[in-house]
């Protein structure tokens, strides 16, 4: 449904998107995860016909985004990461404006307004001025607006950004419900756990390139239970790194020097105790073993690379 082929976007000397190849199947919710500045918004802007790619092609439901832009606009519902609302318009007028702009008939506008406001829990706000709604309500209204013409494809750029936890949960539930409506959704976020809860597939973008892509079950299976441990020794860190690489439950050696070794550990607390015991028996002078923070994105990225290449990126045999 959404396909990109070697998509590139360059701003002067900065390459925002590099040879991006993406394939989002019809009816799936695809999560696009990456840090700020990774190229998510640029990619989504190209798909929403707001920007031209420097090279490469992108298709939405078979329509090319540069040459068939007018058709693409009818096929997508787009919600940018930051968007404003018009003052002096009520919720009903706001939705009616976009409905009419998309050529929805007057009768259908009334019907869809009721239906969508019920979906986003704003039925009681129909006559409120949009600028008097809270940020969370405006985000939900934005989602309803993007669905006004019943598009088959939705492009949502960080729809939950800037929302409080309660509003984020509400937004997540609404997006989950879109799957039942058979919509193809491309949704970006920099928070992997949030996406993992509502997506079918997840792609990681880094430095403008898609570095990993997998089904959400794979992500969950791989990420869950993974912890990053730092082992501190008096000396002999290099030998310890080689030793750890061959141990059970160690999926990756991330870094090491003479006094520190960082590993990815997939075992339980009991397994961790056993490992410490093994190290002590093997004669390593341990100072401490503790868990260090690593984002799920980093873990996922590392694990997916491992999967793609058939072996761990840095695991030493």
């Amino acid at each position: 449904m959404i396909v990109t082929e070697n998509l590139c976007k360059r701003f002067n000397r900065v390459e925002a998107v590099k040879d991006l190849n993406l394939n989002v199947r019809s009816g799936t919710v695809f999560g696009f995860v990456g840090e700020n500045g990774a190229g998510k918004t640029t990619t989504l802007s190209i798909l929403a016909t707001l920007m031209l790619p420097t090279s490469g092609r992108a298709y939405v439901a078979g329509a090319e985004v540069t040459t068939d832009a007018a058709l693409v606009r009818k096929l997508i519902g787009y919600m940018p990461d930051q968007f404003g609302v018009y003052d002096d318009l009520t919720v009903k007028e706001y939705l009616a404006f976009y409905g009419t702009a998309y050529g929805v008939s007057h009768g259908d506008i009334e019907k869809r307004t009721k239906e969508l406001l019920a979906m986003v829990n704003l039925s009681d706000k129909v006559d409120f001025y949009v600028n008097t709604l809270s940020k969370g309500m405006q985000q939900r209204l934005g989602l309803a607006r993007s669905l006004m013409h019943d598009p088959p494809v939705l492009i949502l750029d960080e729809p939950a950004s800037g929302l409080d936890p309660r509003s984020r949960i509400e937004m997540r539930e609404i997006i989950k419900s879109l799957r039942e409506r058979q919509k193809t959704v491309l949704i970006s976020s920099h928070i992997l756990p949030e996406l993992a809860e509502m997506c079918d597939e997840i792609g990681v973008i880094q430095g403008g390139a898609l570095v990993a892509c997998a089904g959400v079950e794979v992500v969950n299976a791989r990420v869950q239970g993974q912890r990053q441990l730092q082992v501190e020794v008096l000396s002999g860190g290099v030998q310890l790194a080689h030793y750890l690489a061959s141990r059970q439950h160690i999926s990756d050696v991330i870094s090491f020097d003479d006094e520190h070794v960082e590993v990815l550990f997939s075992g339980s607390q009991e397994d961790q105790v056993e490992l410490i015991h093994e190290l002590a028996v093997a004669g390593y002078s341990l100072k401490s073993v503790h868990e260090v923070g690593a984002s799920l994105e980093e873990l996922f990225l590392r694990l997916t690379r491992e999967s793609d290449e058939g072996q761990p990126v840095s695991k030493m045999a």
Binding site: T49, L50, I76, G84
Partner: protein, 311 residues
């Protein structure tokens, strides 16, 4: 043929953006207050002028005095147009950008031209409304003679043309620059350059012409500088309608009317230049805005043209 045009007009009037913009602009209390205040001020000016001239005896009002009042009111309105239009139109696109409503608007099937033209229409609509609401005041002028409706319509035509051009300039800056503040400054600067700069440049050319052995080129350049200035063109219109009265022969007004006659600004070529620059110029600026609004429109058109040529 007419049915096609009616259909087009109908389609345009059912344009959702036009309806939304008019609804937003006209429903606010600010609009009601602005219209009321304007009518009070213009009305007070007109009645004061008449009272001073007739000293309380309305039967003694002379038609020439009414023509003066009409000229005074029309210049007041020209001043209003040049001051208020940039304030209204210079934020129409940059304001959408600042409010972050533009990207969503551009992903709708509304074409960039439709967005720009609608914005232009709605930004001039408020001033058109103000001008039309002064019609009852002009009826006082008709009551005492000296001016006929066709003359009023001619002056209004010039003002609408000027209003449209100033709105186009302001929308142009609003599309080109990112911030409304800058767009407003540039719009006022452009209007000032035309109104004040045009007069200064014209005066400079006249001065050079007075001391030059070959006057023709300098006089012609002066004529062009005055022709693009609405102050002089409105004066030329009022001179051609016979509104010049002895009462106008104070230093500034006399100099304007003298310039009009010296450069023959009442001639058809001057009006042709004015109308061409203001109408075609406005259209061109709006086309540039539409092209600028959706990046890549030019590249896509270029590609399509190339494909069509190769076929």
């Amino acid at each position: 043929m007419w049915s096609v045009w009616w259909q087009r007009i109908g389609n345009f009037l059912s344009n959702p953006l036009l309806r939304k913009e008019l609804r937003q602009r006209m429903r606010s209390l600010r609009t009601v207050l602005a219209v009321s205040l304007y009518l009070i001020v213009i009305g007070a000016v007109a009645f004061t002028f008449m009272y001073v001239n007739v000293q309380g005896q309305t039967l003694l009002l002379q038609p020439t005095r009414t023509a003066e009042l009409f000229t005074f009111l029309s210049y007041l309105q020209l001043a209003l147009i040049s001051f208020v239009t940039p304030g209204i139109a210079s934020g129409v696109i940059s304001g959408e950008r600042e409010r972050q409503t533009l990207p969503v608007l551009l992903t709708t099937p509304l074409s960039p031209w439709s967005v720009i033209f609608t914005k232009w229409m709605t930004s001039i609509s408020f001033l058109v409304l103000l001008i039309l609401m002064t019609f009852p005041l002009y009826s006082i002028v008709f009551l005492f003679g000296g001016v006929v409706p066709s003359q009023v319509l001619a002056v209004f035509g010039l003002q609408f043309m000027t209003l449209g051009a100033i709105a186009s300039i302001s929308i142009f800056w609003s599309t080109i620059v990112q911030r409304t503040g800058w767009s407003t400054v540039l719009s006022y600067a452009t209007v000032a350059a035309v109104f004040i700069g045009g007069s200064v440049v014209g005066y400079l050319f006249d001065t050079i012409a007075a001391h030059s052995p070959d006057q023709t080129i300098w006089v012609d350049l002066g004529t062009v500088a005055y022709t693009i200035n609405p102050i002089y063109m409105q004066a030329s219109l009022e001179a051609s309608l016979g509104f010049i009265t002895p009462a106008f022969h104070n230093s500034i007004v006399a100099s304007v009317f003298t310039t009009v006659q010296l450069h023959n600004l009442m001639s058809a070529p001057s009006w042709l230049i004015y109308a061409t620059i203001y109408i075609l110029g406005s259209f061109l600026l709006l086309v540039i805005c539409a092209w600028r609004l959706r990046p890549g429109t030019f590249t896509i058109t270029q590609k399509r043209l190339l494909r069509w040529l190769l076929r």
